[in-house]
């Protein structure tokens, strides 16, 4: 058997599909496709499938990955074609290749964040936010607790892509993965508080890239 990494996008209304529902959605798409998937042994056999980095609800993405084990003899083109015939319309396989890195080595992710605002937000105001050095927020931890964190410790890069009359667009790179992870909506809500006079009414958040680290340094999971 051989393991394949499937890179896919999750767009449109698909952003409201939870991680658990996504898992079920892929299981059924694979079953429909007739691709020879490998099942786990045991009392309740399930398809051997691992998603790398869960996507928060409400965020679209063009860089999601799932590793699936198939019987030998398939080509990447065949897997891509059959999955695309069987996935719901908001999900699309963009590439299939052999896994190049482990999910545990994911270090960061790039997001595009678009805000809808009541008036113009000047670039200076955004610079002031990112330049403030410390933005404290309360973050829920895995063990049902809460802790205070400084958002800026999780921020690798930021850039203002566009400022318009009714909003602005940012590009940010945030810590991601099992070790340290910041959900973009936490950043969005902190910015909303900071820009309170501009009345941020809605955010469109999109994950563009995932980065991982190996002996060669930080790499992109998919170009």
């Amino acid at each position: 058997m051989s393991k394949w990494r499937v890179v896919f996008s999750k767009m449109g209304m698909g952003k409201y599909i939870s991680h658990l529902d996504l898992l079920r959605c892929f299981t059924r798409a694979i079953q429909r496709s007739g691709l020879p998937v490998v099942y786990s042994q045991g009392f309740n056999p399930h398809q051997k499938m691992t998603f790398s980095l869960p996507l928060p609800i409400g965020v679209t993405s063009e860089c999601e990955t799932v590793d699936i084990q198939f019987e030998d003899g398939l080509t990447s083109a065949e897997i891509q074609e059959k999955l695309n015939q069987n996935l719901p319309m908001d999900m699309k396989v963009l590439a299939v290749h052999e896994p190049t890195a482990k999910a545990a080595d994911i270090v960061s992710a790039e997001y595009q964040m678009g805000a809808m605002t009541a008036g113009v937000v000047e670039k200076d105001a955004l610079r002031k936010f990112f330049g403030s050095g410390e933005v404290l927020v309360t973050k829920k931890t895995k063990k049902k607790g809460e802790k205070q964190i400084n958002l800026m410790d999780y921020l690798h890069a930021w850039e203002v892509e566009e400022v318009a009359e009714d909003g602005f667009k940012l590009r940010v790179v945030l810590d991601a993965g099992g070790e340290r992870n910041l959900k973009p909506d936490i950043l969005a809500s902190a910015m909303g508080d900071f820009l309170e006079n501009n009345d941020v009414s809605d955010w469109e958040i999109h994950r563009r890239k995932i980065f991982w680290k190996d002996e060669k340094g930080v790499q992109r999971i998919f170009d």
Binding site: Y16, I17, D21, R28, R32, G34, N86, L87, D90, D202
Partner: protein
């Protein structure tokens, strides 16, 4: 135009996946002006509605027509409803986010009485006038189908027409007539007059009802030429040659019945006297094994579901069950698809059958003796003997099961203290049966029996339709008595207080005067009455007070065998005379054989199909 606003609401509600649509196999059509648009509304939340086979059939059937677009609508959960109202968004369809009020035909399926308040609430959210007489030519036609449509007089003032019986044929016919009417410039009434000629269509505004001083019905008569006194239900005679969808929608979120539902047959041969389904779906009509295997194979390929259930009223009565099960196992085992068999009967349960379903996954076993003593089981014509249950329990225990669930009803006609206590005694006998099996033959170390009771709701079109319902307090006393009588820790007894049963009876047997109560209740905030977190008995009582109507009149009165019943407009094919005979036999404790043992002359032979001609 509402999509962007809707999206913002989705970010603020729990479970947004209820509202997004776009599931695999959902149908997205380009709307053209010549098309007839049908909004198929399920008056409950998405995960309940998407578990319903009938909706799936009609949705795909209508969308297979080139001249029709059918889109789904579910009741928004309370959090979403508040968002919609706050943002001024009307109720939208799931596929194209089109306001429901812009559809030509707005259909609701009536699966249970406690969803009626949701229908009113959905009409209100849609901005459709609540009363049929308030609707103008350009407004949608509101219609209802499903099992409750046979006795949905409480909705009569709110609904333009009802469809009685199975919808595979008649829904296409009403679309055809709509197309001709739309461009004719004729009035709303003329459309209704046209479709009233179809068998299975009941237009309540074409009937006048008068009442006696004691509130019973004095007359129920057509008020137009050519309108039948009674409307006969529609049925599909040949179950192999009717529309069966094979590309079923596969939801993202988990639904109540999240699996392929393979419909083996319609109807039930048994004739349990409390069971409405046993009468309204007559006669029994089976699908052939060949057809079912073909449908199963295609459904597996098109859905990818990991579970398949054989759904019918009494699945184990399927005449070729073993042959079918073998065929289905051949299709499912390699694909790790779990095959489940609901609604097993105690009297024909066998080791062989149990082993077949066990091949994939073992789950708990549930049986429904319904009553605690043989006397009462004879009254309700539940032809299950204690020996059958004990034999079955032993088979199950030897086969490795050690948990059995038993279902009963409290408040059945003629019930005595002995019958109530008999429930606990029967459960104890099941426990004893476990220990009668030699230790080395039984698999589990211990055994547990879960007993559940529900309160009996006498339903129209059953021999008990004339019966009053026990008062809720009486049934609660019975439940408490039973609870106290059960001392064995291996027996778990569940029951819940349920004023809902009373309301269910009122709306099951109510007349069209209750329409205003429904409207008043919706204004007071009644909705999702089938959900304990929402059901508010006090609000309902307030609605009855506002309308000056006594609900006890409908629930607690023994109806006269000769009085005009609010549901006499519907002809289900089973005669009232037959139901009366069954009622009398019940009181004599006499049972009636199943349709396969002997024809009892219920009247369903007139449909010229199914078990009557096997």
């Amino acid at each position: 135009m509402y999509r962007a606003k809707l999206e913002q609401c989705l970010k603020r509600v729990q479970k947004p996946a209820r509202y997004i649509g776009n599931e695999f196999n959902s149908v997205h059509k380009e709307w053209t002006p010549d098309m007839v648009s049908v909004a198929f509304c399920f008056p409950d939340v998405y995960e309940v509605g998407m578990s319903h086979l009938g909706m799936k059939i009609l949705y795909h059937m209508l969308n297979d027509r080139e001249d029709t677009v059918c889109e789904r609508v579910f009741a928004p959960w309370d959090d979403m409803e508040q968002e919609l109202r706050k943002e001024g968004i009307p109720l939208l369809s799931m596929e194209s986010y089109v306001p429901i009020r812009d559809f030509d035909l707005v259909g609701f399926t009536l699966q249970y009485e406690m969803s009626y308040s949701n229908i009113v609430n959905m009409l209100d959210l849609a901005g459709i006038p609540l009363r049929a007489k308030e609707r103008k030519r350009e407004d949608a036609f509101v219609h209802c189908g499903g099992p409750c449509a046979y006795h949905a007089e409480p909705l009569s003032d709110l609904v333009d027409f009802f469809i009685l019986g199975e919808g595979e044929e008649v829904n296409g016919e009403i679309v055809e007539i709509y197309k001709a009417w739309r461009d004719s410039g004729k009035s709303r009434e003329e459309y209704l007059l046209e479709i009233a000629k179809l068998e299975g269509v009941y237009v309540p505004s074409f009937y006048d009802v008068t009442y006696n001083e004691d509130n019973t019905i004095a007359s129920f008569e057509p008020n137009r030429e050519g309108i039948p006194k009674q409307v006969k239900k529609r049925i599909i005679k040949d179950m192999d040659n009717t529309y069966i969808p094979e590309k079923l929608i596969v939801p993202f979120m988990e639904t109540v019945h999240d699996r392929i539902m393979l419909e083996l047959f319609r109807g039930c041969i048994r004739g349990c006297r409390f069971c409405q389904a046993g009468y309204i779906y007559r006669p029994v009509r089976e699908r052939s094994v060949e057809k079912l295997l073909k449908v199963a194979e295609n459904s597996i390929a098109s859905t990818g579901y990991e579970e398949m259930s054989m759904t019918s009223l009494s699945t184990s009565d399927y005449t070729k069950l073993f042959e079918l099960t073998d065929g289905l196992l051949a299709l499912t085992v390699d694909k790790k698809i779990n095959l489940s068999l609901p609604s097993l009967r105690v009297d024909n349960f066998s080791m062989e059958l149990m082993e077949k379903v066990q091949k994939v996954k073992k789950s708990g076993l549930t049986f429904a003796p319904e009553a605690g003593t043989q006397r009462l089981r004879d009254v309700i014509n539940k032809n299950v003997l204690e020996e059958d249950l004990m034999r079955t329990a032993k088979i199950a225990f030897s086969g490795g099961y050690n948990r059995i669930k038993l279902y009963f009803m409290l408040g059945l006609p003629t019930e005595t203290e002995a019958d109530v206590l008999g429930i606990g005694e029967l459960a104890q006998k099941v426990i004893d049966a476990f220990y009668e099996i030699p230790k080395e033959e039984r698999k589990g170390r211990s055994v547990s029996v879960t007993v559940s009771t529900s309160f009996f709701v006498p339903k129209p079109f059953t021999p008990f339709q004339w019966e009053p319902q026990n008062k809720i307090s009486e049934m609660e006393d019975k439940a408490r008595m039973l609870k106290e009588s059960i001392t064995n820790k291996k027996i778990v007894y569940n029951w819940h207080n349920s004023d809902v049963s009373f309301l269910e009876e009122v709306f099951a047997k109510g007349d069209r005067r209750l329409g205003e109560v429904l409207i008043a209740a919706q204004k007071l905030g009644c909705k999702f009455d089938g959900w304990t977190d929402f059901f508010d008995y006090e609000k309902w009582m307030e609605a009855f007070r506002i309308c000056d109507i006594d609900p006890a009149f409908y629930a607690h009165r023994r109806m006269d065998l000769d009085e005009i019943l609010p549901w006499d407009y519907a002809d289900i094919g089973v005669s009232k005379e037959f139901l009366k005979k069954e009622y009398e036999k019940a009181y004599r404790g006499e049972t009636t054989p199943s349709c396969r043992e002997q024809c009892s002359g219920c009247g369903a032979t007139q449909f010229r199909g199914g078990v009557c001609f096997e």
